[in-house]
């Protein structure tokens, strides 16, 4: 018996040892030699321009720029349940950016999530999407990044829950979830649709926000793709047949929304979607059109695509049930959102058209009230002030409840006040 136990333990140790060795072999990535920073003038202008477009489609700058920082110099905090990852400096600075990266190093980072020095990168950087970007596009993005102003900036260190600060563990994550997945052309669909799919599934990485995630933060695939997800404390609603929008997302409407940040049949782009539209506004119009075509197709079976429901205004009922909320709304919100308000006279969409009041959770309605909607500094665009300091959790919840009762559809929202507190916390 003791011999058997001893043998079992030995076998276990050997197995574990072999696993560790195998894992170390799998996890190991060699460093790629540093190169001299490429001469910006050596890149073909057309290639750089192509790369600029791709970078805007990919919304790279949103994660790679801090609030008061320079474009692509990193420092933006991406909060995950496992800690906060800071976007790195991807300007061509040799010391603190990627100035010493060869094209091969860049490609490896994008496709395999491995840094030049061989370290694994956290999948907050969505290489599971970029794995399918074509060589030509990667070269273009490389050319674009290498021709940006070099900025000397060191982002803050990541704050991962131990032991997740140990990067080689990510090799295991990749084993499970990184699947090279070429985007094949679908000959039954138009060229525009195919282009939209390519952009949306790779560079624009829409599922990163709009799909649910599993326990290890991997995006759920298959039937749950585009079933809705979370980003920065905001809810990114489903953009498939389960879209709760009460107005159809036609390709035209979606294109307008993506390019201008506003759809007159829906609402303004808010939260993390704001910067996305700001970048798409400056991307090639044909590509944005392609994205719109593809995602309109994704939502072709959504309820509103088949029938756009009437939108009753249950004002008296909602006022009776939520008198406090009605009064708060009258003094804090009606001045912009009720008919006769300046923006309403000018044709901005009415509240019930926006998707938040029809989602299955109150988070977006809450966040818009707490944080408002802001265009980039000094730029024209939909603007809403933040109420986070003016109203307490109970008051925000009251307004939310009133609005849901007055204009909303879909399942009832429970524990709104708790969600307000959670939203505040997540937004910190």
């Amino acid at each position: 018996m003791r011999t058997g136990l001893k043998r079992a333990i030995t076998a276990l140790v050997v197995v574990v040892g072999v696993c560790v060795v195998v894992f170390a072999v799998i996890a190991y990535r060699p460093a790629i030699a540093e190169v001299a920073r490429p001469d910006p003038h050596a890149f073909d202008a057309g290639l750089v321009q192509r790369g600029a477009n791709l970078a805007r489609l990919g919304n790279c700058v949103s994660c790679h720029q801090a609030a008061a920082g320079r474009p692509y110099a990193g420092g933006y905090p991406v909060k995950t349940p496992f800690g906060t990852v800071f976007g790195s400096n991807i300007t061509p600075d040799a010391a603190t950016g990627i100035g010493g990266w060869s094209p091969a190093a860049f490609r490896r980072a994008m496709r395999e999530g491995v840094g030049r020095d061989g370290s694994h990168l956290y999948p907050a950087f969505p290489y599971t999407h970029y794995v399918s970007v074509t060589d030509r596009d990667l070269d273009a993005i490389y050319a674009f990044l290498m021709t940006r102003p070099a900025v000397r900036a060191v982002p803050p260190s990541n704050t991962m829950i131990p032991p997740l600060g140990f990067r080689p563990l990510l090799a295991g994550w990749k084993l499970l979830f990184l699947r090279p997945k070429p985007i094949a052309t679908d000959p039954r669909q138009s060229a525009e649709w195919n282009r939209g799919r390519y952009i949306g599934e790779t560079l624009a990485h829409c599922t990163a926000c709009h799909s649910p995630r599993g326990l290890l933060q991997q995006e759920k695939r298959g039937a749950q793709t585009y079933d809705g997800g979370w980003s920065g404390g905001w809810y990114a609603p489903p953009i498939n047949a389960r879209s709760p929008a009460v107005r159809a997302w036609t390709a035209d409407r979606l294109e307008t929304y993506l390019r201008t940040g506003l759809s007159r049949d829906h609402a303004a782009a808010a939260g993390p979607m704001g910067p996305v539209t700001y970048n798409l506004a400056r991307a090639a119009p044909a590509d944005v059109r392609a994205l719109a075509t593809y995602y309109a197709w994704q939502m072709r079976d959504a309820p509103a695509a088949r029938r756009e429901p009437a939108l009753p205004d249950r004002r008296s009922f909602a006022t009776q049930r939520h008198l406090d909320g009605a009064r708060l709304y009258e003094g804090a919100c009606a001045v912009c959102h009720e008919p006769g308000a300046g923006m309403m006279v000018a044709g901005r969409p009415a509240l019930p058209l926006g998707t938040p009041l029809h989602e299955d959770n109150p988070r977006d309605t809450i966040q818009v009230i707490l944080k408002g909607v802001r265009p980039p500094v000094s730029a024209r665009g939909p603007f809403m002030p933040a109420y986070g300091d003016a109203l307490d959790d109970r008051q925000v919840a009251e307004i939310v409840a009133y609005l849901k009762m007055r204009h909303g559809t879909g399942p009832a929202w429970k524990a709104i006040k708790k969600d307000v507190a959670a939203a505040r916390k997540e937004g910190e």
Binding site: G331, G342, P385, D389, L391
Partner: protein, 163 residues
């Protein structure tokens, strides 16, 4: 009927609770510092402090204030005995038409109560919700930097150190 704590004193007002605080301050309590600029939360001329936080009083229904304490520019000092932030504004002569300034002062007070050592960019971001059309921005920022120094702190990374 409701009680409001404004500048340390309790005032009783009888108004529709949906009435924005701005009108109550100006028309019922005779406090003209906070101004009507837009009523839309876009310009900050109406800014007051509610429990140390700057808010747009044009969008805060008076019924929502509750027991929180409201501080207007009148509560920070008087013409004969201005508070330190107001003294900083006077020192820098930080006004042209002056219409936006009470809102600026309230917003700056809110910033300094949170921190007396903001970076230059943090200070500008904190003040950004308040608009000035006369172009007094430089002096307003100088006044805020001066007041931060007066409170034992100082704005970091500024191109215009306090002199």
């Amino acid at each position: 009927m409701m009680d409001l704590t404004v500048n340390g004193a309790v005032a009783r007002v009888d108004v529709d609770p949906a009435t924005p605080l701005l009108y109550v301050l100006r028309d019922d309590l005779g406090l003209h510092g906070a101004k009507f600029g837009c009523g839309l939360g876009q310009c900050g001329a109406c800014t007051v402090l509610v429990d140390d936080r700057p808010v747009f009083s044009c969008l805060l229904p008076v019924g929502a204030v509750g027991a929180r304490s409201v501080t207007t520019v009148e509560g920070l000092g008087t013409a004969t005995a201005p508070g330190d932030l107001q003294r900083a504004f006077l020192h820098e002569q930080a006004a042209q038409c002056g219409y936006c300034i009470p809102g600026m002062i309230a917003r700056a007070e809110g910033l300094l109560r949170k921190t007396t050592t903001p970076t230059e960019d943090e200070m500008r971001a904190a003040m950004a919700p308040s608009l000035c059309r006369c172009g007094t921005h430089m002096r307003i920022l100088r006044a805020v930097r001066r007041a931060a120094a007066m409170r034992g702190g100082g704005v970091i990374d500024s191109a215009e150190p306090v002199t």
